[in-house]
């Protein structure tokens, strides 16, 4: 693995130059991975790895079937640098947690067409507009109409 890493690093330097490769590595989050074990575990595993799919948010889902500890053969590389597990949509959640072996593309036919909203990650802490206020809550902009009759208005 280490050999493959060095080889790909050298390849990058050869292609972009030392400075360019350094900047690219920083943007891709390789240096952050040095401090973040989770990230490192997903970033530096490139040998025999298969990219299974990419979801709408850009999260990439990988699989490695051989020479791997049992239960650690599927993982996700988040699109966001500040990642959050809630970014995984439900269809990929099933694959990622071994609930199903089918990818969302294979399960597309089962997707209910009439209801269901687009998945959204947890936006806690990102602003007032993302906080859910129940109907009738003082901060809910849609005020409830408690009037139970319809008044007559003369035709103008």
């Amino acid at each position: 693995m280490a050999f493959a890493l060095v080889r790909s690093a050298l390849g990058a330097i050869k292609e972009k130059g030392l400075k360019g490769a350094f900047r690219a590595a920083k943007e891709e989050g390789y240096f952050a991975a040095l401090l973040d074990g989770n990230l490192a575990n997903s970033k530096f595993r490139i040998d025999g790895v298969k990219l299974v799919g990419v979801d709408k948010a850009g999260n990439r889902y990988y699989e490695k079937m051989s020479h791997v500890q049992h239960g650690r053969h599927r993982w996700v590389v988040y699109a966001d640098k500040v990642y959050n597990a809630s970014a995984i949509p439900p269809e990929w959640h099933g694959w990622l947690h071994h609930i199903t072996d089918h990818t969302p593309e294979q399960l597309e036919g089962l997707r209910p067409s009439r209801y269901g909203v687009e998945h959204m990650k947890n936006r806690t802490g990102e602003g007032e507009q993302y906080i859910y206020h129940a109907k009738g809550h003082a901060l809910n902009p849609n005020k409830r109409d408690w009037k139970r009759y319809e008044e007559w208005r003369p035709v103008e």
């Binding site: 139970r148 009759y149 319809e150 008044e151 007559w152 208005r153």
Partner: protein, 793 residues
């Protein structure tokens, strides 16, 4: 064991020798006295009119129908109200009133026969019952409640649910008690292990195909099957096969069907053919494939169709307009009176918070039994739409704008003072209560105006003789008629419940009915004699064959529709009617067969209060009116109202006249006030407020009272009891709530002099569309759907 005396209801039977119904006794009477020789007559005299109902029910018994005194309703409350009525019947139907006394006199001709009593033993105690009662009724008399689904006291016996199984000694297996006549000395057991096991078996079979959807079922909480499975149901099922599913039927915009829930009790089928008189529903298939349906895709066209919802013991038939809106336990029930027609059916308004969620019938044997019309039941959604909720004045640009009460009342008072009293007029609408009509009459009289009338009574109504404008046979008493002539009335549309009573007379005692007027299928056999006054004249002159039918009849009657009041030759028609009445000897000491059928809830009280034009009031020409006070009156077209007239509209709905109004004063609807109404037979009843008033609306009499202060003619009452005290002085009968005040029959000599000549005009339809007759039903979406769905019929 010594026989125990029990109070019970005793059905009457028709004498096997004579055609006259033999009167047995009162429903509430000691068994000892009934069996004592000769005491039955005394009991009959004291019992009032109530016993007669049982008597008619017995006619039905000839046809295999049996009447049971105590009905089991769809829910507990119905039972409670029934037993309440039962006990109060003693005072209501007492001999204090001349009407009931005369009915009792009719009954006195029939004699009680002690041989008609038998004794049976129920769970070891002896009860004395009438011959011909069923085992189930014997158990009811003994105070034992037998579970049942298919049995309904007002319908014929089907005996197909098998839930009412009891054990009878010397029978090999349990028997269905609803269909088995009780025999003397029969030993009935209702609480043995065999009975319990048998009922549990029946319940298990019923639940095989019944879905477990109680949590989403509208009947949940008031379902007979749910209640009885609490007692007889198993805690687990043994059925592992697939349940069957049944395609839902379309019965129109009122009745929702979930046919998978049906347990094939056939109550709805029997209701449709026996009560509503439409042969639309039936049973199709056998065994597991058995289902209820209309044979062909067809709507059930009946004004009483909503009652199948109450009759259905499970959630197969539920109310479509109130589907999924409320559960029965979150509703508050208020006992009230229906005002959609002049019958004054007793209703229960079920409300949640400020909303009326549904309307159900309340039991009153003398008015509506346990049925109400579809308009009464389903027009409640009109109470939530088009409501007037604040006073408004038409400003200089011709727009109505909201103002304060003080300003609105001041404007009205100023306008009233500007015009000559002879140029003023006041019209009370169809739904006006007696209190507000009293206040309005007092106010207008104090302002010098005498031109008052109630919608439907006509502008020159005659309130002199009370018997001239009431249903004198009484609504319940119409069942006894054996020949009836309908004059200018579409009974089925004008008063569906009265039509049902007449239908009962036709079904039970083969009464002959003929009709002169617009042709309409009344759902029973009725000879149509044409739609012109010529037929009426030929009956009056005795030339017509139906004149002989009437004069030979024992209890002849005539029903005159209030459309007659709109005719120019009103006096001549009424004179012809009076001569028919005299020739057929309809008015006797024991029977008054002259019926005038009113159309609107306000009419009878308005006539009793003298809400009619005074002697000096101009009649006819409306162009002279400069100030018009409309209290919920919407029948005037804009062309009838002069352009320069100042129109005050006091009402609860923005209906037709609100568009023409100069000032709008928001009043309250019948579901929001305590108002006195008198029905077409002269029975005073009161509504009670079920929901709060909307917006800034005020009680109608209060508005008139406040206006009187602005007009400088303050009325001398501040409270509703003050108004009622004033009503007591004018029409004492309006003070006696829930009592029938019979009219003194017309003296025979006083044949009214006809000033006009009978014209050969057809009788006009007065009810264009049954589903939309007043402001509330016109605002109702459900009624609009009914109009669209049933307009072809």
């Amino acid at each position: 064991m010594a026989p125990r005396c029990r109070r019970y209801s005793l059905p009457l039977r028709r004498s096997s020798t004579g055609s006259a119904p033999r009167r047995l006794a009162s429903p509430v009477v000691d068994s000892a006295s009934i069996c004592g020789a000769g005491s039955g007559v005394a009991a009959a005299e004291g019992s009032g009119s109530r016993g007669l109902h049982s008597g008619v029910a017995w006619y039905a018994g000839i046809r295999g129908q049996l009447y049971e005194g105590k009905g089991r309703g769809k829910d507990g409350s119905k039972q409670v109200s029934e037993s309440y009525k039962w006990s109060s019947g003693m005072s209501l139907g007492g001999v204090r009133h001349a009407r009931t006394a005369s009915v009792a006199a009719v009954g006195a001709k029939f004699t009680a026969n002690p041989e008609d009593c038998i004794e049976v033993s129920v769970d070891g105690s002896n009860v004395t019952i009438a011959k011909g009662m069923t085992v189930l009724q014997a158990c009811e008399v003994a105070g034992i409640d037998i579970p049942r689904f298919c049995y309904h006291p007002r319908l014929s016996i089907a005996g197909n649910c098998r839930m009412c199984l009891v054990e009878v000694e010397k029978t090999p297996k349990p028997v269905a008690s609803c269909a088995l006549p009780a025999m003397p000395g029969m030993k009935i057991k209702t609480n043995t292990p065999l009975v319990k096991k048998a009922r549990e078996g029946v319940m298990e079979f019923l639940l095989i195909n019944h879905p477990l959807d109680c949590p989403i079922c509208d009947q949940g909480g008031e379902c007979d099957l749910q209640d009885q499975s609490m007692v007889y149901g198993s805690d687990r099922g043994r059925f592992i096969e697939a349940k069957r599913g049944v395609v839902d039927k379309n019965l129109g915009p009122l009745v929702k069907t979930v046919m998978t829930r049906c347990i094939q009790c056939t109550r709805c089928v029997r209701f449709a053919s026996e009560i509503a008189g439409v042969q639309d529903l039936g049973v199709l298939g056998r065994g597991g494939a058995e289902e209820i349906g209309t044979y062909v895709e067809k709507l059930m066209v009946s004004e009483l169709s909503g009652n199948v919802i109450d009759v259905c013991p499970v959630g197969a038939l539920t109310a479509k307009p109130s589907a999924f809106t409320a559960r029965s336990w979150e509703l508050k029930s208020t006992e009230s009176i229906d005002v959609s027609d002049a019958v004054g059916a007793n209703i229960r308004i079920d409300s949640r918070g400020p909303e009326v969620m549904r309307i159900l019938p309340r039991l009153n044997e003398e008015v509506n039994e346990e049925w109400i019309s579809d308009k009464a039941r389903f027009s409640y959604d009109g109470l939530k739409r088009q409501r007037l909720n604040e006073p408004m004045i038409r400003n200089s640009e011709g727009q109505l704008e909201p103002v304060s009460w003080a300003k609105a009342l001041k404007t009205v008072a100023e306008a009233a003072h500007k015009v000559n009293p002879a140029e003023m007029a006041a019209i009370a609408g169809k739904l006006s209560d007696a209190e507000s009509m009293m206040a309005l009459k007092d106010l207008m009289n104090r302002l010098g105006c005498e031109r008052l009338w109630v919608e439907g009574n006509g502008e020159n109504a005659d309130a002199d003789l009370r018997s001239n404008y009431l249903v004198n046979t009484t609504i319940a008493g119409l069942e006894y008629t054996d020949a009836c002539l309908l004059v200018g009335t579409e009974l089925r549309h004008e008063a569906p419940l009265l039509n049902h009573r007449l239908r009962k007379a036709v079904r039970n005692s083969r009464a002959k009915v003929a009709s002169i007027g617009p042709e309409l299928d009344l759902h029973f056999k009725c000879e149509h004699l044409g739609n012109s006054s010529d037929a009426l004249l030929s009956i009056a002159q005795g030339k017509h064959p139906f004149a002989q039918v009437l004069s030979k009849a024992k209890f002849p009657s005539i029903i005159v529709g209030s459309g007659v009041l709109q005719r120019s030759d009103k006096d001549a028609v009424l004179a012809a009617v009076q001569s028919i009445v005299q020739q057929a000897n309809m008015i006797r000491d024991d029977w008054n067969g002259y019926n005038f059928l009113l159309l609107n809830a306000a009419q009878a009280a308005g006539l009793d209060l003298g809400f009619v034009p005074g002697a000096r009031a101009p009649v006819g020409d409306k162009s002279s009116i400069k100030f018009l006070y409309l209290m919920g009156a919407d029948d005037l077209t804009p062309e009838d109202i002069p352009a320069d007239a100042f129109v005050v509209y006091q009402g609860h709905h923005g209906d037709r006249s609100a568009y023409r109004a100069n000032v709008i004063l928001p009043g309250v609807a019948y579901s929001e006030k305590e108002g006195t109404y008198e029905n077409t037979e002269g029975r005073t009843q009161q509504t009670s407020p079920a929901v709060p008033t909307v917006g800034d609306a005020r009680d109608d009499w209060k508005i008139v009272r406040a206006l009187s202060e602005f007009a400088g003619v303050t009325l001398p009452y501040d409270t509703v009891n003050g108004v009622r005290a004033r009503m007591l002085a004018v029409a004492p009968n309006l003070f006696r709530v829930d009592e029938l005040e019979p009219a003194t029959p017309l003296p025979k000599e006083s044949l009214p002099e006809s000033k006009t000549k009978l014209e050969s005009l057809p009788f006009k339809k007065v009810v264009d569309n049954f589903y939309m007759t007043d402001a509330i039903s016109r605002a109702s979406k459900t009624m609009a759907q009914c109009t669209a769905a049933f307009s072809s019929s």
